[in-house]
Amino acid sequence: MIVTKNHIVQWLLKAADLFEEQQDFLTDLDREIGDADHGLNMNRGFRKVKDKLPSVADADIGNILKTTGMTLLSSIGGASGPLNSSFFIRGATSVMAKEQLNLEELTQMLQNGLEGIVQRGKAESGDKTMVDTWFGIINSLAKHQQSTMQVALDAALVEANLAMKSTIPMQARKGRASYLGERSIGHQDPGATSAFLLFSALRDSILE
């Protein structure tokens, strides 16, 4: 199975719908340990992405992702804006001019995206951020490079869910939640959650 450009477009549309649907949930998570805007931020950003998609319908995967990153950069703001933007812009670098991706290429794209987040945000695994979810996903995909797309993505989704949940007992060391010190323990990180949603949209668009 191969990931087509259409899958990528579907991914972004699905993500936009998902963030609209889950806006309040994400914002509520952010109310616990942040400033109650993460759902608003992600929804605002992906609404803009959705608006923009028709204008890049003819572009290759790399350029679609790059445009997505640029759009998120100028519409989300906050911490998650530049970080999600970096994810797409850096993710785009290895898939420029491509119209389709195999599992290895898809994994490389996501890995580059994660590196973009880390380079900007300097978070490490265990800091209670979106990075935790993406690490879980990339690690799982790396282990399943010989599997089918279906198996690899399903396994990664399971891992993504675990990684997201793993942020609950963590004490935040990056972002706004870190101000709370020990009071950040016991809450699921909003950014780790939106990363999970973003990946689940990807998996669903490819497999469904």
Binding site: T27, R31, I33, G34, D35, A36, D37, L40, N41, R44, L73, S74, S75, I76, G77, G78, A79, S80, G81, P82, L83, R120, G121, Q171, A172, R173, K174, G175, R176, S178, Y179, L180, G181, R183
Partner: protein, 355 residues
């Protein structure tokens, strides 16, 4: 929740439309959102700040002669985006370069960093300097570092005057570092604020509880404490401020030659007997002016006992968290240069003197 707004999505836009009509001296751009002075004079360094909305009058209310050249408002409590900062800086730059004054939050830092990189690519001399004055945050190693709060207002005043005086970008950046290392703030909330889009208060406090060490984004404070009375609360706040453990952190500064970020180590200065300060008693939102004076009364008494001289005071609504009930106290240790810059004329919607 009742707020004097229309659709939640339009709050910032409509507020800016109001500002545009009210203050013809300001040029308000809506897409992307930024405010700049119309009476741009130069050549001088352009001082620009920005951050999430909801802290009014900061920053837009401080654009004008002697203070900011531009401000970039984000959505409520959400850092603005690099395109706003980039466009704003392009408008405000008069060839002597641009200083971004950034409150230390991950979101603000990341977005301003990108704006710095974009401007550099355009050949504009640029620096970003942080304010991280909230002593409620203790360490910088395991957190995002101290938050930037009300010292920002004093920094904007002092640095703005320096730009009018013709300071170079390097000299102002040095001064910005000095202000950052000498300003300390602490905030307390008696009740939470309500973000329009959220529609409910960001936390609930009992009738005898306060959030001690609260920031300006409706996030809970460092600790929930018992409220006794105004004097006790003020005393707790001042003793937190007078704690002199040096605060050290790594900040990155833009290298305009090499086009890269270099790490630098900044260390806060101690505040001791014999020092001179500017005191800012700041309404975090819905605190009556009368109560600010009750706080100031106690602060003056306590600083007097420590041998610290209050050179100037500012008591009012400057750096808010929407309708949060509470107050912050800022002490900025000053020297003669800072003081004389502070005293220079300023003409902005929210701060004006000497002209």
């Amino acid at each position: 929740m009742k707020k004097i707004i229309n659709h939640v999505d339009n709050v910032v836009k409509e507020l800016l439309e109001g500002v545009a009509i009210a203050h013809p001296a300001l040029q308000v751009n809506l897409d992307p959102m930024y405010i700049v002075r119309r009476d741009k004079k130069g050549p001088k360094v352009a001082l620009i700040s920005g951050g999430g909305s909801g802290h009014e009058p900061m920053h837009g209310g401080f654009v004008g002669m002697g203070m900011l050249d531009g401000a970039c408002p984000g959505q409520m409590f959400t850092s603005p985006t690099p395109d706003q900062m980039y466009e704003c800086a392009k408008q405000a730059d008069s060839g002597e370069g641009v200083l971004f004054l950034v409150k230390n939050y991950t979101g603000d830092i990341l977005n301003f960093d990108i704006a710095v990189e974009l401007l550099h690519a355009d050949g504009i001399k640029v620096q970003a300097s942080i304010i991280d004055d909230d002593v409620a945050v203790k360490d910088s190693l395991y957190t995002a570092g101290r938050r930037g709060v009300a010292t920002t207002v004093l920094a904007e005043k002092i640095l703005g005057a320096a730009t009018e005086e013709g300071y170079s970008l390097d000299k102002i950046s040095q001064l910005a570092k000095r202000v950052a290392n000498r300003g300390r703030s602490i905030g307390v909330a008696l009740s939470a604020c309500t973000v329009p889009a959220a529609g409910k208060p960001s936390f609930e406090l009992k009738d005898n509880e306060i959030e001690f060490g609260v920031g300006i984004h409706g996030e809970p404070g460092i600790e929930r404490r018992t409220f006794i009375d105004g004097d006790s609360m003020t005393t707790e706040m001042v003793s937190e401020l007078l704690d002199n453990k040096p605060y050290q952190r790594t900040v990155h500064q833009w290298d305009n030659e090499l086009g890269q970020w270099n790490d630098d180590t900044w260390t806060s200065e101690a505040l001791e007997s014999g020092d001179k300060v500017i005191v800012l008693i700041n309404n975090l939102g819905s605190t009556p002016q009368s109560e600010l004076y009750v706080v100031y009364r106690k602060v003056a008494e306590l600083l007097g006992k420590q041998g610290i001289t209050i050179e100037r005071n500012l008591i009012g609504t400057y750096c808010t968290a929407l309708d949060m009930q509470g107050v912050s106290i800022t002490l900025l240790k000053v020297d003669d240069e800072m003081l004389s810059l502070y005293d220079m004329p300023v003409n902005t919607p929210a701060l004006r003197w000497g002209c």
